[in-house]
Amino acid sequence: MAAIDWFAQAEVAEPVPARRRPARKPAQRPAARRRPAGNVRSRREPTQRRVRAHIVWMILFALLLSGVVAVNVAVLRAHVAVAQLDQQREKLEARNQALQSEVSAASSAPRIERAARRLGLVQVSSGNTTYLDLGSGGR
């Protein structure tokens, strides 16, 4: 809808035909002032400039608001990502602990000894250990 200049001078409406009166010598009326065509156009130009300015401001304002919303959405997404990473970190730490525990249990001497016995192995007795004297190096 084109902007309406509320304060523009309205176009003169067609005058109501006057009631018939005894003819009188018609008074010399000044000729109706007609605005040259160029003047109407120059009145419309400031209006259009104002309209354009308003549109620009609205667009800028909309961009600003969109930017604020985008920033907030980005921050929220980052928080969600942080929370997910925190959960992941906790899971990994728990997994790490569980693995350490598994390794310790697997390497425990009683477990190894039981497994060795099942395979028919026996522990070396100290009496069966001999030492080799490599000498001091001389012949």
Binding site: H79, A83, A109, P110, S125
Partner: protein, 559 residues
């Protein structure tokens, strides 16, 4: 005319829009000022949740970094019976998934007088996740930490136990509870409508507990426990204790006892199993105590290793007759032979002539008996001295009867002999991560020359002339002392009940290890040289090879 009508309608529309925006503006202003605080509180209640951040308990490692006690993730399964419409069905489902008995679960869920019950504490996270997917009404799940002892029976009494709320209740878990416990944190979580966390405000971070590194070696510990298990079985003994320690640092490499138990099943173990016998139990040491008598007399320059005594088979002390373990004629023995052959008569003679009550008491305290060693384990006993000295007490105490000591006191005393006469406080904790390692107390109890003499005499015990031939280790010199002590009862000594002990140091030329073995009430054989000395040999042999200690004897020789 037409234009005027259009204009007035437009003005009316504009006015309407302005009024609407004005009304909205007023409403916004009112909400943001008058209702601001109440709406903020409501939003907080709905979207913000205050949570405690659990702190992990520190891990206990052995000296090589093998975890002996560690926390694993667990889940507490909690139910609100007031919200459960069908407790039978839900109990069936929960019991089936968690592997519990229905009869234990159903009563908890059916009790509508309670709004909070634990269905299972510290459940497996995998099973809890499976149960969570069943979307049972009234069930919630909370992360927790479960204390696990991966090596099972290894060092169980030493490690102790951390209870349901991860607080130390016994052993090192209790002694080091302050270091191992962390501090809970606090955070506020903002959730969206779907319950997803969109913001976390950490008000105080959690501080995890400190990790602790022990002096224990899990392999040396496990080997000692296995040797004790075989010894107890072989001699049908009541129980047995072994300590392996580094005499120069006081670091305890193993503190074993049998029977043992799985540390993960601590609550199910009997009280007797839970007690660490090495620090908490006292016993009459017997002849291993003779080093105090001889060491004291040597230090006071009253005797030398070559000083000779004419010793009958038995001796009268007040109203008592004390005799040697083996029947023999009257002999002249040197001090070295008194120790080598463990002559009771010889030890009592030295104590009576050169030390007396006051001297003996002095040297007993000097060797660390009658007082706490200060080991970093709760429940240590100081031992028991005779409440009063009668005429016959001098016939008992010098040979290790009538006085009670702990295994750790005895091992530390022999460690002082192995360490050139300097006593070092025994300890289990090497360091707490992030803290300055503690420095063990030291004090000199014997002059170096006296110590050398004593050690040389103790080498003679582990020979074919001595009482501990079975403690000999091929390739290494061994020094030590046997002990066979009667056990006291409410009405005097119990017939047939003995404690067989051997304490040795190896290699004797430059000791790296002191090993004590004590066997309570062996049957079939009762002597320290027969029951405890072979166990010492097995433990020490393994440890010497494990620690790669080179032999100090010519190959093929036995020390």
């Amino acid at each position: 005319m037409k234009t005027r009508v259009v204009n007035s309608r437009l003005r009316l529309l504009l006015l309407g829009i302005l009024l609407t925006f004005a009304a909205l503006g007023v409403r916004v202003a009112w909400l943001q000022t008058v209702r601001a605080s109440s709406l903020a509180r409501l939003a907080q209640r709905q979207a913000k949740f205050d949570l405690a951040i659990p702190a992990s308990r520190g891990t206990i490692y052995d000296r090589l970094g093998t975890p002996l006690a560690i926390g694993e993730q667990a889940t507490d399964v909690i139910a609100d019976p007031m919200q459960i419409a069908d407790p039978r069905r839900e109990a069936r489902v929960a019991a089936g998934v968690l592997g519990l008995r229905y009869r234990k679960v159903y009563p908890k869920l059916a009790d509508r007088s309670r709004g909070f019950v634990y269905v299972e504490r510290k459940a497996s996270p995998r099973l809890a996740a499976l149960l969570s997917k069943r979307n049972l009404t009234g069930f919630t799940f909370q992360s927790n930490e479960k204390r696990v002892y991966p090596q099972g029976t290894v060092a169980a009494p030493v490690l102790g136990y951390a209870g349901v709320d991860n607080t130390g209740l016994a052993g090192l878990e209790l002694e080091l509870n302050r270091e191992l416990s962390g501090r809970r944190g606090a955070e506020t979580v903002v959730r969206d409508a779907t319950g997803q966390a969109v913001d976390t405000i950490q008000e105080r971070p959690a501080r995890d507990g400190s990790n602790v590194f022990l002096t224990l070696d899990s392999h040396i510990q496990a080997n000692a426990e296995q040797v004790l298990e075989r010894t107890v079985q072989q001699w049908h003994a009541k129980d047995a204790t072994a300590i392996v320690l580094d005499p120069h640092t006081g670091a305890i490499l193993a503190m074993a006892q049998e029977p043992g138990f799985d540390a993960n099943a601590y609550p199910a173990a009997t009280r007797n199993l839970q007690i660490d016998h090495a620090v908490g139990d006292v016993f009459e040491p017997g002849s291993v105590f003779k080093v105090v008598t001889v060491g004291g007399a040597l230090s006071e320059h009253k005797i030398t290793p070559q000083t000779r005594f004419t010793l009958p088979y038995s001796i009268h002390v007040a109203d008592r007759i004390v005799h040697d373990a083996e029947i023999r004629p009257t002999e002249r023995m040197s001090v070295a032979q008194i120790l080598q052959r463990s002559s009771n008569v010889g030890a009592i003679t030295i104590a009576e002539r050169y030390l007396g009550e006051s001297g003996l008491k002095h040297w007993m305290r000097r060797f660390g008996f009658g007082r706490l060693t200060g080991i970093d384990l709760p429940g240590e006993s100081a031992g028991i001295f005779p409440p009063y000295w009668s005429g016959s007490t001098i016939g008992n105490v010098p040979i290790g009867q009538g006085v009670s000591v702990t295994s750790v006191q005895l091992a530390s005393a022999y460690a002082a002999i192995a360490n050139g006469g300097q006593w070092v406080q025994p300890h289990l904790v090497d360091h707490v991560f992030g803290q300055v390692p503690p420095r063990p107390r030291r004090r000199r109890i014997l002059a170096p020359n006296v110590d050398r003499q004593l050690r040389t005499m103790l080498k003679g015990v582990v020979s074919d002339q001595g009482t501990a031939e079975l403690a000999a280790i091929p390739g290494y010199t061994v020094a030590g002392k046997t002990g066979t002590a009667q056990k006291p009862g409410p009405n005097g000594y119990i017939s047939g009940a003995y404690v067989a002990t051997f304490v040795g140091m190896v290699p004797a030329s430059s000791p790296r290890l002191v090993v004590l073995v004590s066997v309570d009430e062996p049957h079939g054989q009762i002597y320290g040289g027969t029951v405890a000395a072979p166990a010492f040999e097995q433990i020490a042999s393994f440890d010497l090879q494990y620690l790669e200690v080179p032999p100090d004897l010519r190959i093929g020789a036995r020390g």
